[in-house]
């Protein structure tokens, strides 16, 4: 599976290079603005960084679905499915590549913001002051309000929500390509099915969550949500794998 992952990773790498270049440019603009005293450069860089972050999160979040759809639409699908690996391994590698790509994008943005933040602190209040602020922030986070288990659970839920969306997308694409093969409307129908499946899944998970509505304990509520999302995701991926293994022609 790791060998398939290697090529799936490579397929999606170009967009990360573009994002990396944009981030580098904006970070340099910010730092340069600070050192030459051009505040508007800094403002522009920060606004663009935020917009770039939003766009990149959206694009990278669904990029693996775009790639899967392209694979199945073109003869490049032969490259993917002629190898002696099961469809489950192929889909697993695609999902692993998607996770790593989104992590890479996150790291790139975190690095860009960190550089801007560090530069700002270093230029305005000095490194010692920055370290003090950092220490103070950490102390406040650890001592007050924020509980790490809750933060982790919320992050896990966001992550699972995204994986669930990817699983819905994969199921939609494979289902439509299985039935319609290379029909011109296949992509549009896959998008329609994606929204329908998402709607259906949200109804199901809401119905399950309603049962837990009376529970006042927030942690328990989150755990159930995480559990429901996990089960639905696993079921969707197994169904996709089965369709690809038994029914999908490329």
């Amino acid at each position: 599976m790791l060998k398939i992952f290697k090529y799936e990773w490579r397929k999606q790498l170009f967009s990360k290079l573009v994002i990396g270049c944009i981030l580098l440019g904006l970070t340099l603009l910010y730092v340069a603005g600070m050192f030459v005293g051009k505040e508007n450069w800094q403002e522009i860089a920060l606004v663009l960084l935020v917009f770039a972050g939003m766009f990149a999160a959206m694009y990278v979040g669904i990029e693996c679905l775009i790639v899967l759809n392209r694979d199945l639409k073109t003869k490049e699908s032969h490259m993917l499915f002629m190898v002696p690996h099961s469809a489950y391994e192929i889909l697993g590698a695609k999902i692993l590549a998607a996770i790593c790509q989104i992590l890479l994008t996150g790291v790139l943005f975190a690095a860009a913001f960190f550089v801007c933040f560090t530069a700002y602190i270093a230029a305005n209040e000095g490194l010692a002051q920055f370290l003090n602020v950092l220490r103070q922030m950490l102390r406040e986070w650890m001592d007050v309000d924020l509980k790490w288990d809750q933060i982790l659970l919320v992050l896990a839920e966001i992550f699972l929500g995204w994986i669930n969306m990817v699983a819905v997308g994969i199921t939609s694409i494979i289902a439509v390509r299985t039935v319609l093969a290379n029909n011109k409307c296949a992509t549009v129908l896959a998008v329609v099915l994606f929204f329908l499946l998402n709607w259906g899944i949200s109804r199901i998970s809401q119905a399950i969550m309603d049962l837990a509505d009376g529970w006042t304990e927030m942690m328990k509520y989150f755990w159930i949500q995480v559990g429901v999302l996990s089960v639905i995701t696993v079921v969707l991926l197994l169904v996709s794998g089965w369709m690809a293994e038994k029914k999908l022609s490329v």
Binding site: H85, K246, K247
Partner: protein, 229 residues
């Protein structure tokens, strides 16, 4: 028997691509899969290569039902270019080496030289003829048990065809089986051991070249004309 196909059927929605194919492939033989466009040759090849699913019938490879693991011994070459567009020719070698234990990098580079291809070229920039040669080089650089070559002479100029046929003959041995689909019957008549004529998703006629000559007192080209004319 290397491959046994019995009552194979495959339809795409309402269209029947393979109506009923029953055929066995023996080790060490070279087969010509003959028929006009749309006869079902490519679909049958893709079924054996594990790319077309949802078919009915029996498909046994070395005596067991065909699984994805058997792709390790089956070298399939489709009629259309299929390499990832970001790849250079040398990346194709890496890909095949990663997935197929029977792939020989040395053989691949030797074939590239023979086909006058440059390993640094990007696959998306290749002309149709060069892409066809690259497909062949990658496929024939494997030491597979079964080669499925879908229209191997498509897009290849007259002069290079001899070289391609020569390369295919070099690969052929008593240890492997080669199936070539084509409608350029005269190009392969001399090299095949067996002919399989496919018409509208069914086997119209099949047998060894000698037996067909004896029984019908006609060459493979003449039989082709008789069947499809």
């Amino acid at each position: 028997m290397l491959l046994e196909c019995k009552d194979l059927k495959k339809s795409y929605r309402r269209k029947l691509a393979v109506r009923d194919i029953t055929v066995n492939l023996e080790q060490g033989r070279m087969y010509g899969l003959l028929g006009p466009n749309g006869a079902g040759k490519s679909t049958w090849m893709k079924m054996v290569a594990g790319l077309v699913k949802g078919w009915q019938g029996t498909l046994l490879y070395e005596g067991h039902p065909l699984t994805y693991r058997d792709k390790a011994g089956i070298a399939y070459m489709s009629t259309e270019p299929f390499f990832y567009s970001y790849m250079k020719i040398k990346d194709v070698a890496n890909y095949y080496e990663d997935f197929f234990d029977d792939f020989s990098r040395e053989r691949f580079y030797e074939l590239l030289g023979r086909m006058e291809l440059d390993a640094e070229d990007r696959t998306r920039t290749l002309s149709s003829g060069m892409a066809a040669k690259l497909k062949l080089a990658a496929t024939l650089a494997r030491d597979a048990k079964l080669y499925l070559l879908d229209e191997p002479l498509n897009g290849i100029d007259l002069v290079a065809r001899d070289r391609v046929m020569q390369t295919i003959l070099e690969v052929h041995s008593p240890k492997n089986t080669i199936v070539m689909s084509t409608h350029l019957v005269d190009e392969i008549e001399d090299v095949i051991d067996e002919a399989i004529f496919v018409r509208e998703g069914e086997i119209a006629l099949a047998g060894s070249k000698e037996k067909l000559h004896q029984d019908w007192d006609a060459s493979i080209v003449d039989l082709y004309r008789k069947i499809y004319g």
